[in-house]
């Protein structure tokens, strides 16, 4: 199922620009971690994954839900860590993940002559990932990322979402009808008159 993105305007150039900036930032960072600068206590590499695969996983997580303007690298690293921790708990999952990441790199090598993390075009990387989107290892990573980003109360404010309101008495005094670019709705008197004709 592919939904039709109805009348969607082209992405603004700065969005793509930010993606590229973030890409460079990440690959540098990944290089740092694989160089072991975080020391033996560093939590970035799951036991199941070697340094290169940890870097691939981090890049994959960023490419699944790329929000270069909203989220920091630490957000994505936390997701990759969580995926790694799950793999450490479950040998079958770990095998599927390492195998899947290896095949992703193999596909990148065969098409672009370089590993996944070194493919610079985000479109190209998304295209590589699409080849794996019906596989369980990919969907495990994807849903881990989904819950960590969109069902995460710490992150909600970055998207303008305010969540639970009952403990604050609802939104009735907190902006449920505060926009100014369209007219106000009917007043209480008008609403009463409507139903008492």
């Amino acid at each position: 199922m592919k939904i039709r993105f109805h009348r969607q305007r082209p992405a603004p150039a700065d969005h793509l620009g930010m993606s590229r900036r973030m890409f460079l930032m990440t690959t540098t960072f990944a290089g740092v971690t694989t160089a072991g600068l975080l020391g033996p206590a560093g939590r970035l590499s799951a036991a199941a994954l070697d340094g290169a695969q940890s870097a691939t996983l981090l890049r994959v997580v960023q490419d699944i839900y790329p929000h270069p303007d909203l989220l920091s690298l630490a957000h994505y690293q936390a997701i990759a860590d969580s995926v790694g921790a799950d793999a450490d708990e479950d040998a079958a999952k770990a095998a599927a993940l390492t195998d899947g990441l290896a095949r992703l790199d193999a596909l990148a090598q065969s098409l672009y002559g370089k590993p996944y993390v070194e493919v610079e075009e985000s479109d190209a990387r998304e295209g590589l990932l699409r080849a794996f989107q019906n596989e369980a290892f990919f969907q495990d990573v994807r849903w881990t990322a989904y819950f960590a980003i969109y069902d995460n109360k710490e992150i909600w404010p970055l998207f303008g979402y305010e969540g639970s309101s009952v403990e604050h008495g609802g939104y009735i005094d907190r902006g449920f009808s505060d926009i100014t670019f369209v007219p106000q709705g009917p007043t209480l008197e008008e609403r009463i008159a409507q139903v008492q004709q």
């Binding site: 490419d63 839900y65 998207f159 609802g170 505060d178 709705g185 209480l188 139903v195």
Partner: protein, 525 residues
């Protein structure tokens, strides 16, 4: 609360505690008729309600094994979740949004109005609107529906609906408002006024929205004529040699089988479980299942022709602030075949929280990547609608039983098959275009089209028909085949209309209670 002996064969057994079962239980108990309600789910109260989409989904949804089949996208993208309904005390009235629309006359007479439609099984209800109006009024008073019947004003307009309403005004539409809703706009019936909390579909935390959980069910218990057993999953309805039903076998909380005897049985388990129970009750005398001489049990499964459509506005909207369904657009509810389809559709403003928007913007394995991420960055500038269109009944859209797979009760897993009719597809495409036009008139930059959600509106699988060869029940929901067996939920609907089913379920339940009381007094049942 009263308690009744398992061998008491004078009680009415009602299966389900939602809009149909919960209302019927209270109506009968208020008349002094003894009732046992079997509710498959747990007992809930207001303390269980949280403003959290996934926490509530996991807490209250019906998640027993089901197989989603047919040609709709959910057979791939929601393979084990064809529906989005509740298992628990209060049933899907915990989850419903509160929209309380009445059927239009033509929607009750679809065969007469539309004629025969290829590949569809369109029929007339054995009731007309004039007959239903007094029952609608009773339902509106009971539930506290904003509008003329109660005199309660419609709710104040929130941001998301104000955007939609302005688009409607600019595109020449006339029929849009913030009601009728079964949500208190003022304190009424011992329940508070709406505080614009949002999360209506996760359960109203203060009880401003009508739900049987804190109205019909406790009131029925207070009469001393109603016992509600939760964690009680009906397995089979039994009958005697004369073909009358005699009781219900159910699994209790410990998984033990119990047999509650009954004078009559009313099935109100929603449109999957109700036909499933009738089919699972097949016997030598009724080899195709109870009440199924017409062969229509489980068929004509309707969900509404539906979709979501979300527009991105130039400024912040914060659509999640306030009532989830904050407004209703009725201009497209008319039969105008020149549009390329029969029947019409309602557009209902519907806010989704960020978690559900991210899950349903593009459901399934493909819903990730740059286009999805970019759309979600526009979340706080979105307003959107849910489309509730008339879904044509088709015999092949149906509930059947899996021949080997069973659930935790040992019952065959239901297969829920749904393929949209071309009429549905044409209608939904029209609704996408109209919604885009409305929102573009207020400056929308992007408009996202969402496919159908797992269905909360489930109808038609034990349909009413005047002719016993074409339907399962008569105009009172009474089985044509078995006089003391009734259907009391949305599965008795003959057509789906373009309106949310709850108000009509409640109206029919009140009417059915009157009929049952009368027929019991006359010793006809």
């Amino acid at each position: 609360m009263a308690t009744f002996d398992l061998n008491n064969d004078g009680v009415v057994v009602i299966i389900g505690s939602g809009a149909g079962g919960g209302t019927l239980a209270n109506e009968l108990a208020q008349k002094g008729i003894d009732v046992v309600v079997l509710e498959a789910g747990k007992r809930f109260d207001l303390g269980d309600i949280e403003n959290d989409e996934w926490a509530m989904f996991n807490k209250i949804s019906w998640l027993d094994k089901r197989i989603s089949a047919g040609g709709w996208h959910g057979a791939v993208n929601h393979p084990s979740l064809p529906t989005w309904i509740v298992k628990g005390f209060g049933g899907s009235t915990i989850h419903w949004a509160g929209v309380s629309l009445r059927y239009k006359e033509y929607e009750l007479k679809t065969r007469t109005t539309y004629g025969e439609i290829t590949d569809a099984n369109v029929e007339d209800w054995p009731i007309d609107l004039d007959e239903l109006v007094p029952w609608y009024e009773k339902a509106e008073l009971k539930m506290g529906v904003t509008g003329r019947t109660t005199g309660m004003p419609h709710l104040p307009w929130n941001n998301g609906f104000r955007v939609l309403a302005e688009g409607c005004r600019r595109t020449g539409r006339k029929n849009y408002n913030s009601g009728p809703m079964a949500i208190n706009s003022v304190e009424r019936d011992d329940r508070p006024a709406c505080q614009q909390i949002g999360f209506c579909m996760q359960g109203c935390a203060i009880g401003a929205k009508w739900s049987t959980m804190y109205t019909e069910l406790p009131r029925a218990e207070d009469t001393g004529h109603c016992e509600i057993r939760t964690d009680a999953m009906a397995l089979m309805i039994e009958h005697d040699a004369s073909g009358k039903v005699t009781g219900v076998v159910y699994a209790d909380a410990e998984g033990n089988r119990q047999r509650q005897k009954a004078r009559l049985v009313c099935v109100a388990g929603n449109s999957i479980e109700s036909p499933r129970l009738l089919l699972n009750s097949a016997s030598t005398m009724f080899p195709d299942g109870l009440a199924n001489s017409s062969g229509q049990v489980g068929r004509n499964y309707m969900t509404h022709a539906t979709a979501g459509c979300y527009a991105v506005l130039p400024e912040k909207v914060h659509m999640f602030r306030g009532t989830a369904v904050a407004g209703i657009v009725g201009d497209e509810v008319r039969n105008d075949p020149a549009r390329g389809f029969k029947g019409g559709y309602t557009l209902e403003f519907l806010s989704l929280g960020l978690p559900f928007m991210a899950a349903f913007l593009e459901p399934g394995n493909t819903g990730w990547g740059r286009s999805v991420a970019r759309a979600l960055e526009q979340y706080d500038r979105m307003s959107g609608v849910w489309v509730v269109g008339e879904d044509l009944a088709q015999e092949q859209n149906r509930i059947t039983l899996h021949d080997s797979e069973v659930d935790q009760y040992g019952l065959p897993v239901p297969i829920v098959a749904k393929t949209p009719h071309n009429n549905d597809t044409e209608m939904v495409n029209h609704a996408y275009e109209v919604t885009a036009e409305i929102y573009e008139s207020v400056g929308a930059t992007d408009v996202y089209e969402l496919p159908a959600y797992p269905a909360t509106h489930n109808m038609g699988t034990n349909r009413m028909h005047a002719d016993p060869s074409k339907g399962v029940v008569n105009a009172y929901g009474q089985s044509h085949d078995i006089a003391n067996l009734f259907v009391s939920d949305g599965s008795q609907f003959t057509s789906s209309g373009a309106c949310n089913p709850t108000l009509t379920i409640v109206a029919l339940a009140i009417r059915q209670a009157e009929y049952i009381a009368r027929e019991m007094s006359a010793n006809n049942i």
